[in-house]
């Protein structure tokens, strides 16, 4: 057991940091606020193109798809550095983490050829059409319907909500019902310019352009738009979301923002008393979360299937985000009132940690059943 980075890992991190300092413009931190805004998306597309050219967009992908088979540690080091810098890849982090790998595993040759190369070049933005007004945590109750239309394809009707990046996305990774029950859900890869799709931005406290409603009115897609088989969505999504669950190293930005807030307080002689205790607690939570996440990557590296520890890492993340967010609000309130754009952007991202990509309470249920092996709740 070893907690040190080897020289290859260290030099890879240094390469990523050097790339960031060269490619992030002076006003990047102001731009970091509002993932999914037009301004950030334009920047992210340019940035991801440069990452791709430098071989740093998809290093962990197979060579065949533009990667170099780098191991899961490299992918995670990359993700840590990106997230800690405010995630300049914008919505494209999803392509890199799970949409690309999911298409490699379950996509048809035609789908792979059409969608994967633009992802590897950093040219395309996807959105994830899962949640609906009546289907949040209980995702399997989703109602958006995809019906066969005279044999040539499907007609989709329904509504999605909370869809990140929908305002700027080229393609939607969409869940829709082709029959009843959990095994009646299918995945469709739907270009966002297909007639019948309407996107409406939802104003929010978490930043410009982040969440949307997406309406599907008689949207016609060909048979070839389905990913995998009819009814295979649940199985596919379970696999891909296990990649997503620790895919965002939230602790990396939280820890960096905590350091920054403390440095700011020290400069003005405000780091004392309660601030010290609160900062220390938040620091311990961030570092515990970091190690939890590393333990998941270690398992992945060893080829072990994703286990319930991923839910524990997720919940630890929620706590760490919360402690850092509370620290800033209490000890450095200036940050959220024009004081520091990246601390503000962090606050906006941190408050969704317990909701986005699966609510915290659902993780707790999984931990109780699968990690502690407690008897299940009655249904």
């Amino acid at each position: 057991m070893d907690f040190k980075w080897d020289s290859e890992q260290q030099s890879f991190r240094a390469t990523v940091r050097a790339f960031l300092s060269e490619h992030l413009p002076a006003d990047w931190e102001a731009l970091a606020h509002g993932p999914g805004s037009a301004a950030q998306s334009t920047f992210s597309t340019k940035f991801c193109g440069a990452l791709a050219t430098a071989g740093l967009l998809v290093p962990h992908w197979p060579q065949h798809w533009g990667g170099r088979d780098a191991d899961p540690w490299m992918a995670f080091i990359l993700a840590e550095e990106m997230w800690a810098a405010g995630e300049p890849r914008g919505g494209q982090y999803m392509n890199v983490n799970w949409i690309g790998p999911t298409l490699m595993r379950f996509g048809s040759e035609e789908q792979q050829a059409r969608y994967i190369p633009p992802m590897a070049r950093g040219e395309t933005i996807w959105c994830q059409g899962f949640s609906e007004p009546e289907a949040g945590s209980d995702l399997a109750s989703l109602r958006t319907r995809a019906e066969r239309n005279n044999g040539s394809g499907y007609r989709i009707n329904g509504q999605k909500i909370w869809t990140s990046y929908a305002g700027v996305a080229d393609t939607c990774f969409l869940l829709a019902r082709t029959s009843v029950g959990k095994n009646g859900i299918s995945i469709f890869l739907v270009p966002m310019d297909t007639p019948g799709i309407t996107v409406r931005q939802i104003p929010s406290i978490i930043g410009e352009g982040d969440i949307h409603e997406v309406f599907f009115d008689n949207v016609e897609v060909p048979k070839t738009a389905i990913l995998g088989a009819e009814g295979q969505a649940w199985e596919i999504v379970r696999t891909s979301l296990s990649l997503e669950r620790v895919g965002i190293p939230r602790f990396a930005l939280a820890a960096r923002m905590l350091d920054r807030a403390v440095a700011t307080l020290k400069k003005s002689g405000r780091f004392n008393g309660g601030a010290i205790e609160q900062a220390a607690r938040a620091k311990a939570a961030c570092e515990a979360t970091r190690l939890y996440s590393y333990s998941i990557i270690d398992q992945r590296k060893r080829g072990l299937p994703p286990g319930p520890e991923a839910s524990a890492a997720r919940f630890a993340t929620v706590t760490a985000e919360r402690l850092v967010g509370e620290f800033v609000v209490e000890q450095l309130p200036d940050a959220l009132a024009g004081g520091d754009p990246l601390l503000l952007a962090h606050h906006q991202r941190a408050i969704v940690a317990g909701i986005a990509s699966g609510a915290a309470e659902i993780q707790l249920n999984l931990i109780a059943t699968e990690l502690l092996r407690m008897p299940r709740e009655p249904r």
Partner: protein, 304 residues
């Protein structure tokens, strides 16, 4: 970064596990506050387990795993200080060890051959005669004792004291980590068996979620202490000790709450772990002390 155990680490942890399993299987027909592990102490001595940290292929990280595993046991012996602190003193000193912090009663003091005496920032070493120490009754599930102060004390240099303090923090966090594990496992077992309102208590979400939160906290403590033992970094040690005391405070409350009145008895073993934890909550300055250390050691990067 690689969390697989080396073959030496695996062999040692398996051996400790076998030894511990044997003690776990023994009936704890016991109704007192403290369950002293005299036989455990003997087997650890005979097997030379107190010297693990000094063996190059094992080192303090493996010793930390051993401390943690042995803390699951209902019985207790002076293990953590001997395995983790004693090897970091300049000369070979006799065990058992105990700590006297600012004159307060301490664990294992009445039988200690070496005392670490903490007074503010100073740490001294003393070898008490039998009449300089005295056992005291307490609720804590360790044998507690006081030091009457009649022994010559050798004060450690500033750097030696800092090193000892670092290993004291790691020993504290490792012991808490193991105690938390055992206390949580014991509570989960109770919640799975005990039925109310026609169903097992473990099916009530209000309890399931609290248990899940407890186990996430305890897992975090474990990772931090393993890292600290591996990097031997002062800041990492302070983080581990802080997270251990912080998490344990909350977990101990929750676990007792979930056992109902059964958790108040000496018949149920929960108190053996939770009252050991309570003894550890105030050590080394408690949460405030660890937080001050974290603030001093872990926030020096101006690069943020």
């Amino acid at each position: 970064m690689d969390f697989t155990l080396t073959s030496d680490q695996s062999a040692l942890t398996s051996a400790i596990d076998r030894l511990a399993t044997h003690f776990e299987a023994m009936p704890t027909d016991f109704y007192g506050f403290t369950l002293a592990g005299t036989q455990l102490e003997k087997e650890l001595t005979d097997g030379e387990y107190f010297d693990i940290a000094g063996i190059p292929d094992l080192g303090p990280l493996t010793a930390t795993m051993a401390v943690e595993r042995l803390a699951w046991l209902p019985c207790t012996a002076e293990i953590a200080l001997s395995m983790l602190v004693r090897p970091h003193l300049a000369t070979e000193l006799p065990r058992p060890f105990a700590v006297i912090e600012n004159g307060r009663p301490g664990r294992f003091v009445a039988t200690a051959k070496t005392l670490l005496i903490i007074n503010g920032d100073d740490i001294g070493v003393a070898h008490p005669s039998v009449d300089a120490v005295e056992a005291v009754d307490s609720l804590y599930a360790y044998p507690m004792g006081t030091f009457t102060g009649n022994a010559s004390v050798t004060t450690l240099s500033g750097s030696d004291a800092a090193n000892v303090r670092k290993w004291l923090r790691i020993a504290l966090a490792a012991e808490i980590s193991g105690l938390l594990h055992a206390a949580i496992a014991s509570t989960v077992e109770h919640l799975s068996i005990r039925r109310q309102f026609g169903r097992s208590l473990g099916t009530f979400q209000a309890l399931r979620h609290r248990m899940a939160e407890c186990t996430v906290l305890a897992g975090g403590v474990r990772w931090l202490v393993l890292k600290a033992a591996s990097t031997e970094d002062e800041g990492d040690a302070a983080l581990a000790a802080l997270h251990a005391q912080e998490s344990a405070t909350r977990i101990v409350y929750d676990l007792h709450q979930m056992l109902g009145a059964m958790g108040m008895t000496l018949e149920h073993p929960l108190h053996l772990w939770t009252y050991r934890i309570k003894a550890l909550l105030s050590e080394l300055g408690g949460r405030g002390g660890q937080a001050a250390a974290v603030a001093a050691l872990c926030f020096n990067s101006e690069a943020a």
